[in-house]
Symmetry: C2
Subunit: 246 residues, 2 copies
């Protein structure tokens, strides 16, 4: 496989960096190609704006996602965006690795999502989920948290991890057509001991060795929904986020 890891951490001596390096080595040892987009090291610009396009469909007022579609058709993306789109198109597995900040990705990675998962490539003209632009590819989150795992039980203080990350695992990755693999979580990493940290590194290496055979988390297909965009009668919700109205 070609693996693209998008990595965001402001500290080059972090545990996150050690995890990245160990995971990348394990993937390479297993015969995979690994590309890393280290957003802090790249000084990646996360702020979507008019400078992202060298040609515009609506020059009078910026409608960002519509200009993405136009830029895709006219090869008009800023070079830093096009370079990341090319990496994305070339990958079989996308790993988003980041410290969990406010139950989501750091801003620099949100900017990668905003600017690189573009209309016309990742989705568009009705293509999403099982018809999304990234269909056939896999994606997963690898994250380090401040909180304890019990807090992210379904009835825990914070509610389930897959509810907190719904916007990313379902709303971003699955929406774009990726098969989403279970997230790798290194819990409460600043407040644990050296042995636990070594255990997480070992577990991640083991995970990366077999990642080709991982089963995706449950997702619905477009056919499960009717013309009213609601689950058809007889289709039971089978994700962390969908519910029948009582």
């Amino acid at each position: 496989m070609n693996v693209l890891t998008v990595f965001a951490h402001p500290e080059p001596r972090s545990f996150g960096r050690a995890l990245l390096d160990a995971g990348s080595s394990a993937l390479r040892s297993a015969g995979h190609e690994v590309t890393v987009s280290d957003l802090y090291a790249m000084n990646f610009n996360p702020v979507a704006g008019p400078g992202d396009f060298s040609a515009r469909r609506f020059p009078q007022a910026l409608q960002y996602d519509r200009e993405q579609k136009f830029a895709h058709q006219h090869n008009a993306f800023a070079p830093d965006i096009q370079a990341e789109i090319d990496k994305l198109l070339g990958c079989d597995l996308l790993i988003l690795q980041f410290p969990l900040w406010w139950f989501s990705v750091p801003a620099i990675m949100k900017g990668w999502i905003d600017r690189v998962l573009v209309n016309g490539v990742a989705y568009g003209t009705g293509r999403r989920f099982d018809t999304g632009g990234m269909r056939g590819k896999r994606a997963m989150i690898a994250t380090t948290t401040g909180c304890y795992p019990e807090m992210m039980a379904p009835d825990g203080l914070l509610a389930a991890f897959d509810i907190n990350l719904w916007h990313l695992q379902h709303g971003t990755l699955a929406y774009s057509g990726f098969d989403v693999l279970p997230a790798f979580k290194a819990w409460s990493i600043q407040y644990t001991d050296e042995a636990s940290r070594a255990g997480y590194i070992e577990a991640y290496v083991e995970r990366m060795r077999g990642v080709e055979n991982d089963e995706p988390i449950p997702s619905h297909t477009l056919q499960d929904f009717g013309a009213d965009w609601r689950l058809k009668d007889g289709i039971a919700p089978r994700t962390a986020g969908h519910r029948r109205i009582a």
Copy 2:
């Protein structure tokens, strides 16, 4: 009330800007003070990093949230962060207004959250939710979407709005101690007609006129959870995100 609106939109001629202006006028007419942090206009830096602190507790390796706590104790925040913290402390109502990008805020606003809702002020030392630093204040989302409302039914293609925005309404605003008011949503704004857009402006003006009397969405208190961080026996989940394990 003192109202702080944090606003993120790359286009000064957008519908979002018209909504902001109409809402701010309505609030002022009702006797409230309004401060706007227009992040694009401010050229706000969203990338959390070592430059955010003029003094460090752990100079050898950056642990961002721990340095926030230290900076709060030692008055060591970068001036752009301290200015936003001061606005935050002075407000009674915080409005986050943004176009919904990938089921969350644009990166520039995620950076405001990462850098301004700091450890020691918004939360810390066990203070969160009903004991969070922002207790006594209210907060709400005002957003414009690409999708249709039916898609965000609980059994809709995307699942409920409050599940998609769980990381922000619960994991960020409620966590910090805010009472979270129901979100204002202007649906599918690029693909609707002029009359609908005018209707949304009118509805938002009406909403702002009475916002003082709005009821917050349901939330649990810390006392609802046991020492194991799980809902106590007999406490029924009453949020969009919490569930009992079957």
